[in-house]
């Protein structure tokens, strides 16, 4: 095969089928729970049934004597064994004085949320571990529980009995407080929205699980974990256990979705590694679905207050926001940073002259919170987009018009524009996005149908909701993260190497769990090097194969990791060019690279395919003096700026006024994620994201009773939607390349979620607006909608 025969396909931008699929479709994909080794021991977790309690005593003998039980350890025993040298890490201490009570894998003196681990059993079977855990008898002295943000604020009880307040931090983003005050003082219109971002259970379909395999003589430990962040996990395990980092190998095999829930450093991961190392036997655990409400962090959990000041025409003068954020019982890896990720986006896609944001973080005795798809950004877009609808109503214009009047850049194209929240938006073009969405949704016809139903007094009313979002991804410029007190950088690493036979291996530090990196990265490489994407193998998710990386979260993979791959290809081409020039006895400046081959300008017959150069680099028989053999290059890309995707979503709902039932009739989304590598994958990401946001708006909520018990931990009561609850969606896109990277890509993993909850609730409120309803809390369940309608009707009469 020569490169000219396999002419470059220009595959970037085409909807190419995924290489990942055959394995996953046939059951060949191996998730953690599919992998077994001889002699493995199963962990069973003994979990506190109380949200806040001192541990009085633990009786382990019945469990220890059970057949097949290897050991039972209490938190105190584990502490004495010296398995860890530091508490579980929080990598984002958002302020210097942030309160961060120590959090060890197993509680020693007190449990701080239902499900906090108080003892661990090791047994030789899956079922045996569960049985033995049930035989451990723990006596508690129950303490008052803080079961909501309101209670945390009130402070009559504290979530940690040795703290005198529940407040963890106060974080301000106040670029110009005087200007903000002036904006509100002189405003014609001020609208204020108070919104609840309910707690959500991320519910990736694959539960989390671990398998740690020791090598007793060599001292190494290999950890298989259902994680998004093997690289971060490796550093953090070394830092918390004192095990030498170089002796740890972390592998994320096939991972069944993450959505942020798998980016933490969890007690089970530390327990498996340290116990396996201590005992010289493999140790494993897989969470049950109902356990996941306690063993895996949750998302959202915020009370938001947003105010917009505007002039008579609805032109915004200022936006002021305060958030009270529920940390849960402990600071996990980035718990306190999640609201900050949203803080910069409360100005939305609008030209906001004055802005201010404050956030107070509070401890409660509930499962810790942390990143969940969008992490801070869905909350931000929800608040500003709900408030914009309120402003539209106050000014007396439509939701589309109020947005048009306020678009950054006047609704036209812009690049590198500084916003009042101190960011520089890489690029945008908001007007055409809304035009396209309204056109695709058939907005005028929808309004006409809505009016018809209203006039006819039908019981099924229709609501139309818009959301014009912007989000921040491509996390992140390392310096910017440093400025926010984040404990790591935001770069990504890539290696591109030609193998002797002309095939290409790519090593990436980002860690897919459903996003199709193998396919997309192959496409980038194929176009760069002029080869067939099927000749590219992408290696990832194993720290022994890909030692450098910062993993996958925050829609960062393509805009940072994919760009690193592209840049590494450029370096490969540079080196190959020197070899080609040497071997073709030409001047490197006279060579062109196209179609996978170097050609001397003006003499097309004088050509050399890159595969031949790769083989020459491997044999190293005839390289320029001093050049190292092999054709392999690496790049660590640290982006100069974030990327800011945007879009317009239009939700159409039908509200049954007799039952309160809301059904999503139609959904249109125009998203702009910059240059697209694989539109098929882009659309898939958007579909899934939309439904998660719709689910927050209409169905999902982790609800807790006054004692801090989660009332709906299983799929029986936690209503993850099925195919029957959602419609097909109409998607389209605009393309505004990013200026933050040479590919012009932005990121799309979270966009759907960031746009959809606000669009849906705006639609529900729109349907109910004839009754004077201006707001409804999420999830807009039938009971809540029905009650709202009844109250509104009562209020009218």
């Amino acid at each position: 095969m020569t490169a000219t025969e396999s002419a470059p396909a220009n595959v970037v931008g085409t909807p190419r089928l995924r290489k990942e699929d055959p394995k996953l479709l046939t059951g060949e994909g191996k998730y953690v729970d599919d992998i077994h080794v001889p002699g493995e021991l199963w962990m069973g977790m003994v979990r506190s049934p109380h949200a806040h309690a001192k541990i009085s005593s633990i009786e382990t003998s019945a469990a220890a004597e059970m057949d097949g039980v290897h050991a039972v350890y209490t938190g105190a025993q584990l502490a004495d064994m010296g398995l860890w040298i530091a508490p579980l890490p929080c990598a984002w201490p958002v302020t210097d004085d942030m309160v961060n009570p120590p959090h060890f894998p197993v509680a020693t003196e007190a449990a701080h949320h239902v499900g906090d681990i108080v003892a661990v059993v090791l047994a030789d079977s899956r079922y045996g571990a569960v049985d033995a855990a049930e035989l451990v008898d723990v006596e508690y002295e129950v303490l008052p529980a803080v079961a909501s943000i309101a209670e945390a604020r009130d402070g009559s009880a504290t979530a940690h009995h040795d703290l005198d307040s529940n407040k963890a931090f106060h974080w301000p983003l106040m670029p110009d407080p005087d200007a903000l005050e002036a904006a509100f003082a002189s405003a014609t219109h001020v609208v204020k929205g108070e919104f609840v971002q309910q707690r959500l259970i991320p519910a990736a379909m694959e539960p989390r699980g671990v398998l740690a395999i020791p090598s007793p003589a060599g001292g190494d430990v290999t950890l298989y974990s259902a994680t998004q962040v093997p690289h971060i996990l490796k550093v953090m395990i070394a830092a918390t256990t004192g095990l030498p980092e170089a002796k740890l190998r972390i592998i994320a095999p096939s991972v069944g979705g993450g959505f942020g829930a798998k980016l933490n450093v969890n007690p089970d991961e530390l327990l498996a590694v340290t116990l396996a190392n201590k005992l010289g036997r493999a140790v494993r655990w897989t969470e049950s679905r109902s356990e996941a409400a306690f063993s895996t962090h949750q998302g959202r959990g915020q009370l938001q207050t947003i105010e917009i000041a505007a002039d008579e025409s609805g032109k915004i003068a200022g936006v002021r926001v305060h958030i009270d954020a529920d940390m849960g019982a402990y600071m996990m890896l980035i718990t306190p940073g999640v609201p900050l990720l949203g803080s910069f986006l409360y100005t939305g896609v609008y030209d906001v002259p004055a802005f201010g944001f404050t956030c107070d973080g509070y401890f409660t005795n509930l499962t810790p919170t942390d990143a969940y798809r969008g992490a801070g950004r869905p909350e931000a877009s929800y608040a500003i987009e709900r408030a914009m609808d309120m402003l539209a109503a106050k000014v007396g214009v439509g939701p589309d018009e109020i947005r048009r009047r306020n678009y950054l850049g006047g609704g036209g194209p812009f690049e590198n524009l500084e916003t009042a929240s101190t960011l520089v938006f890489d690029s945008g073009n908001y007007g055409p996005s809304m035009d396209a969405a309204l056109e695709m949704a058939g907005y005028a016809d929808l309004r006409a149908e809505q009016q018809r139903r209203r006039d006819a007094g039908e019981s099924k009313q229709m609501g139309i909701g818009l959301c014009t979002y912007v989000e921040i991804c491509g996390l992140a410029p390392s310096r910017a993260l440093g400025g926010l007190n984040y404990g790591a950088g935001g770069w990504e690493h890539a290696v591109v190497r030609f193998l002797p036979t002309g095939k290409v291996e790519v090593v990436t530090g980002s860690t897919p769990h459903g996003q199709g990196h193998e396919t997309s990265w192959s496409m980038i490489v194929a176009d760069k090097l002029g080869i067939d994407p099927d000749d590219v193998q992408v290696l990832h998710s194993d720290t022994a194969i890909s030692p450098l990386g910062l993993d996958t979260y925050g829609s960062r993979s393509l805009a940072v990791g994919g760009v690193a791959v592209a840049m590494a290809c450029d370096k490969v081409i540079e080196k190959a060019k020197l070899i080609a020039a040497h071997q073709m006895e030409a001047n490197a400046d006279d060579l062109e690279f196209a179609g996978g081959a170097f050609t001397v300008k003006g003499s097309p017959e004088s050509t050399m395919p890159i595969q031949a150069i790769a083989f020459g680099a491997f044999t190293a028989h005839n390289l320029p003096d001093g050049m190292e053999p092999n054709l392999q290059e690496q790049v660590t890309f640290d982006p100069p700026n974030f990327a800011f995707p945007f879009g317009t979503h239009v939700a159409v709902v039908e509200v049954d006024e007799d039952t309160g039932d809301v059904s999503l009739m139609d959904y249109t989304a125009i998203d702009d994620c910059g240059t697209q590598i694989n539109p098929l994958i882009v659309e898939g990401q958007v579909h899934g994201g939309i439904v998660q946001g719709v689910a927050q708006a209409l169905w999902e909520e982790a609800s807790y009773d006054a004692d801090g018990n989660c009332k709906n931990p299983s799929f029986l009561d936690y209503l993850v939607p099925s195919a029957a609850e959602v419609p097909s969606m109409k998607l389209g896109s605009t393309t505004t390349p990013s200026t933050s990277n040479p590919l012009g890509v932005k990121g799309v993993g979270e966009a759907g979620t960031i746009g959809s909850a606000a669009a849906v609730i705006n639609a529900v409120c729109d349907a109910l607006s004839p009754y004077g309803v201006t707001d409804i809390a999420m999830p807009a369940t039938p009971a809540r909608v029905w009650k709202t309608i009844q109250q509104a009707k009562g209020g009218q009469s």
């Binding site: 089928l17 995924r18 990942e20 699929d21 055959p22 394995k23 996953l24 479709l25 046939t26 059951g27 060949e28 994909g29 191996k30 998730y31 729970d33 599919d34 077994h36 899956r126 079922y127 519910a203 990736a204 379909m205 694959e206 539960p207 096939s254 991972v255 069944g256 979705g257 959505f259 049950s288 679905r289 109902s290 769990h513 459903g514 996003q515 199709g516 098929l680 994958i681 659309e683 898939g684 990401q685 579909h687 899934g688 994201g689 939309i690 439904v691 998660q692 299983s714 799929f715 029986l716 993850v720 099925s722 195919a723 029957a724 959602v726 097909s728 969606m729 109409k730 998607l731 759907g752």
Partner: protein, 158 residues
């Protein structure tokens, strides 16, 4: 206790505790790990297989209750390296992302089409109600099933 059944055309047998769930027998004892477990309340369908030609959630029954039956798991769907038409449709319509729900979806969808070879979009959505997916928003799953049924006209956009 010894439990034997025919799985993907081969007779299989393993010695298990009487309380062993069928899904754990298939996964842990027979080593066929394509069938997944996504919940503990029979809600998600990740464990869907065919028993005597009908789809069933393998977490809802004991291995012992399936004694002597004829079981098909996802590993039995492709034929000598050629994907089953439903698997092929999922691939072509991007009906999977992380792939965790996929074996169960494919099993449920094939049995749906067996009962109703020409379903409408609404029928597909209703028919897959017992199978949860957190990644795809179902759009492309529904499209895959309609396409496998030879009815891709009302599969949504694209």
């Amino acid at each position: 206790m010894q439990v034997e059944m025919t799985v993907n055309g081969q007779s299989m047998s393993a010695d298990v505790e009487p309380r062993t769930l069928l899904v754990h027998y298939i996964r842990d004892d027979l080593g066929l790990t394509g069938t997944n477990v996504g919940c503990d309340t029979s809600s998600c369908g990740a464990c869907t297989i065919h028993i005597n030609g009908e789809s069933a959630k393998s977490c809802t029954m004991l291995a012992a209750q399936a004694r002597g039956t004829d079981v098909t798991t996802i590993e039995g769907m492709a034929d000598n390296g050629t994907l089953h038409p439903m698997q092929q449709a999922f691939m072509e319509c991007h009906g999977l992302q992380c792939g965790y729900c996929t074996p169960g979806m494919v099993m449920a969808a094939t049995s749906l089409l067996k009962e109703n070879p020409n379903p409408t979009e609404a029928e597909v959505r209703e028919g897959l109600e017992g199978n949860l997916c957190r990644c795809t928003g179902y759009h492309n799953i529904v499209k895959s099933v309609l396409s496998a049924a030879g009815n891709s006209t009302n599969g949504g956009s694209q």
